[in-house]
């Protein structure tokens, strides 16, 4: 039976320890002989005192309170919670990758540099771009990098009037946040009745003050924007640039490429599309790619090959600088590299075909009970809304999601995108079997029926999880964000 686990501080016992240190071997002089007394700590930090077995049991028991892709279905829309092959984890732990210092002389890290160089090439090919930087640590970090590049491009052309970035109302929250962080104002572009960018509105808004447009395609509804060629023309005609948010790239691998769609700058989320696990929130990796005219502004360094040796190249005088220290989340890149090499070009295309097939299958299985705001073929994800259920039973998306937890399924993304009332955003991914998809569809249908039969059961859900619904309002009102010894 699952039980809540005490905090590690609560299992601490004075004097207990798990650590061991090597022999000192050198003369053991008092610390005060090296450091001024006033700089020294007088109170020890209240870190737990536990034995190794205490520690292992704590984290093992704790781990059992979590859902993960390895435990069950995780159709969290826009997050691409696919299964990640174990070999990727194994190779990222190889000492030749894990134990190398970023400032080690280049001749001693040729393997790592070669891997990064080839990864840059693969990213260019898959994205249809001319050059890639692997530096950004996550999708949002890639967006900010891209926004900075757009900024630098216009500034280099002395085009200072461009202060706005256009963002569709269906966009991820990171898009407007990255835009503002990059020093631009956001202008929201409405969606049309088919779920794409409203072309008439776009034409109206776009002028010479627009620096660029950020677009996710397929968008957060899971729909491919059929008017992408028009969008390309409208924005470029006024001198703006197109940014591709690669969060939903799992729907288009080998099918179409951002570069061919007219995008000037883009990022991929290696932790979504290229199967590096999400780690409970990170680390991710968000490589950024550009067309040739934006190359001068990429972050430094990138990896170059002179025919014999790989080296880090900092020679980019117009570069936006660095987005983080060193060269990117290298060990994440290692996993994505192994993934691409494992499945090859046909495998990449099959990823998207299967992801799209799975999404459309689940969609059609549940539309008898859930409303479809846009009746089209979807790509790798789709959005439904429980309008009838809400009207007839008073049950909301939140209730349905919480009830799903009782089935051992992680709920889809809720209440996003905001343009759909009570949105339920489902992304099954390509790695799930028909049986799993049917299990999920059956559960969704059963919950819909239950809403009519016994709505209270949904309001009270989840019933089988180790904790029930948590008081989030209380947590925000009186934030307790750390444990304190005296409070126990």
């Amino acid at each position: 039976m699952m039980r809540l686990e005490p905090l590690i501080f609560e299992v601490s016992s004075p004097g207990r320890k798990a650590y061991s240190l090597p022999e000192l071997e050198v003369p053991d002089k008092p610390v005060e002989s090296f450091l001024p007394k006033k700089e020294l700590r007088t109170t020890a930090p209240e870190l737990p005192e536990v034995s190794e077995v205490d520690l292992v049991r704590h984290f093992t028991r704790l781990s059992q309170l979590n859902h993960g892709v390895d435990i069950g279905f995780y159709p969290l829309g826009s997050c691409t919670m696919k299964y990640s092959p174990k070999i990727n984890e194994e190779v990222a732990n190889l000492p030749g990758f894990a134990d190398i210092h970023p400032y080690a002389p280049e001749e001693t890290v040729q393997g790592a540099l070669q891997l990064m160089y080839e990864m840059q090439e693969y990213m260019c090919e898959i994205g249809g771009m001319d050059e890639f930087s692997l530096q950004p640590a996550a999708g949002a970090h890639g967006e900010l990098t891209g926004i900075n590049i757009i900024h630098a491009y216009h500034r280099a052309r002395h085009d200072d009037k461009r202060t706005k970035i256009l963002i569709p109302d269906a966009a991820h929250g990171t898009n407007p946040a990255s835009t503002v962080l990059g020093g631009f104002q956001t202008v929201t572009v409405p969606s049309d009745s088919r779920g794409g960018v409203d072309i008439a509105a776009l034409e109206r808004i776009t002028d010479e003050t627009v620096a660029g447009l950020m677009l996710t395609n397929p968008n957060t509804l899971g729909l491919f924007d059929e008017n992408i060629e028009k969008i390309d023309k409208i924005v470029h005609a006024k001198g703006g640039l197109l940014y591709y948010d690669g969060a939903n790239a799992n729907g288009i691998l080998g099918i179409c490429r951002p570069g061919d769609m007219g995008f000037d700058v883009m990022h991929f989320n290696l932790h979504k599309t290229f199967s590096t696990p999400h780690g409970g929130g990170g680390p991710g990796s968000g490589p950024v790619g550009v067309k040739k005219r934006l190359s001068p502004f990429l972050p430094v360094p990138t990896v170059k090959f002179d025919g014999k040796k790989y080296h880090l190249d900092y020679d980019r005088p117009q570069s936006i600088g660095q987005m983080k220290s060193f060269y990117g989340n290298f060990l994440v890149i290692v996993k994505a590299y192994a993934y691409i090499r494992s499945i090859g070009p046909d495998g990449l295309r099959k990823v998207s075909e299967d992801a799209v097939l799975n999404a459309n299958y689940v969609l059609r299985r549940i539309t008898e009970y859930y409303d479809l705001p846009y009746d089209r073929h979807y790509k790798h994800e789709f959005v439904v809304s429980p309008q009838r259920i809400k009207r007839d039973t008073g049950c909301h998306t939140m209730d349905i999601s919480k009830r799903l937890l009782d089935y051992g399924v992680h709920p889809p993304t809720n209440y996003f995108p905001m343009i759909v009332d009570e949105a339920i955003m489902v992304e099954p991914t390509e790695t799930e079997s028909k049986e799993t998809l049917d299990f999920f569809a059956d559960a969704m249908i059963e919950i819909a029926k239950e809403a009519y039969r016994d709505p209270q059961s949904l309001h009270d859900a989840p019933h089988n999880t180790v904790v029930g619904r948590l008081d989030e309002a209380g947590a925000a009102k009186n934030p307790r964000v750390r444990w304190r010894k005296e409070s126990q």
Partner: protein, 432 residues
Amino acid sequence: MLKAIGVASIEDLFSDIPPALRFKGQLDVPEAMSEWEILKLMKELACKDDAARYTNFIGAGAYDHYVPSVVHYVLARSEFYTAYTPYQPEVSQAVLQSIFEYQTMICELTGMDAGNASMYDGPSAVAESVTIASGLTRRKKALVSRTVHPETRVVTRTYAAGHEIDALEVPMENGVTSLSGLEKMLSQDVACLVIQEPNFLGNIEPVDEISEKVRAAGATLIVQANPISLGLLRTPAEYGAEIVVGEGQVLGNPMGFGGPYLGVLAVKDKYLRRMPGRLVGMTNDNRGQRGFVLTLQTREQHIRREKATSNICSNEALNALAATVYLSWLGKQGVKDLAGQCLKKAHYLADGISHLKGYSLAWKTPFFNEFAVKCPLEPEKVVKSLVGKKILAGYPLGRAYPELKDCLLVAVTEKRTKKEMDELLEGLEGLA
């Protein structure tokens, strides 16, 4: 499945993509491989990285500490690593509680009131902390000491540009922040000063004097601290820091050729609601049990969009978990013992080098586990020559500080044995 969807082929599902935009042919990436072939390929690549087998004295922002087996064990539990951000707390208590434990440990080390769930790395944490300080003080100048990691300074400038914050560099003097230089630059429009402690050059900064000046100007003191050094050194809170950031790589994360690392960010209470990133809070469920949730989410991009305190979404959760396990492994005594061992070994080596003919320590300032050595030949040549002896001797400071072109930055962790240090001494002596 196609029948259920009502299409004849998978291809029909892509019919809304304009034909001109369809990718024709096959992507130009290598053909698929079996798992065994992948393992072989990856081992071959990894094998080319001699650095993994050489004795490492390079620090400069990434340190060769031992990562204990328990850290690998916990991180390999896929309940943790195959989860997403804990948006559904009922099935995410492991991730949430471990973050809460992490936040507590960071507060204990730094003396701050609240730590967030993680940032990308030390430099990006510094860059975002400058934004917090500027937001709170409504001032548009940020001072960064020249003794702060060069890459941190670059990243801070990159971020500051977007906020129209002027990031200015405070000069250094004798390997630490220049007090007179600082005095001259402080004014009523300065939001904050960023220092690193111990600084990039390994030295202990005159923190009391710095802090007094910064506070007198009404600015925020931001300290980038080495978390391991806090096993011995007093907390930045004790000398007036209001925001503490750090590179958490040293807390149980491998050097990994530069990432993924862990951005530590902790603040005094008054900055809590301006903090970027995720934050976990303690609460109760509808059954009266204690539980943990993401809290104060109205600061974040998925709620606030363009009004968010930051754009950060994915962070470095698994690296923070490594830090939590590592700090549990070390415990109260271990962190002190570890820091002490790094300190003593570094001083043994520094003492040895200072007695070598032609070599000397660049400054007489107290240091923790890293120090600059003046060399009788170009440090780049020192590094190159010692690679032949399978020693990575250090970081040539001339790469970032033209004024220190004859200096090599050398770091020592608990992993360095007396024999290895003696070999470095011998190697250096042979070059003089």
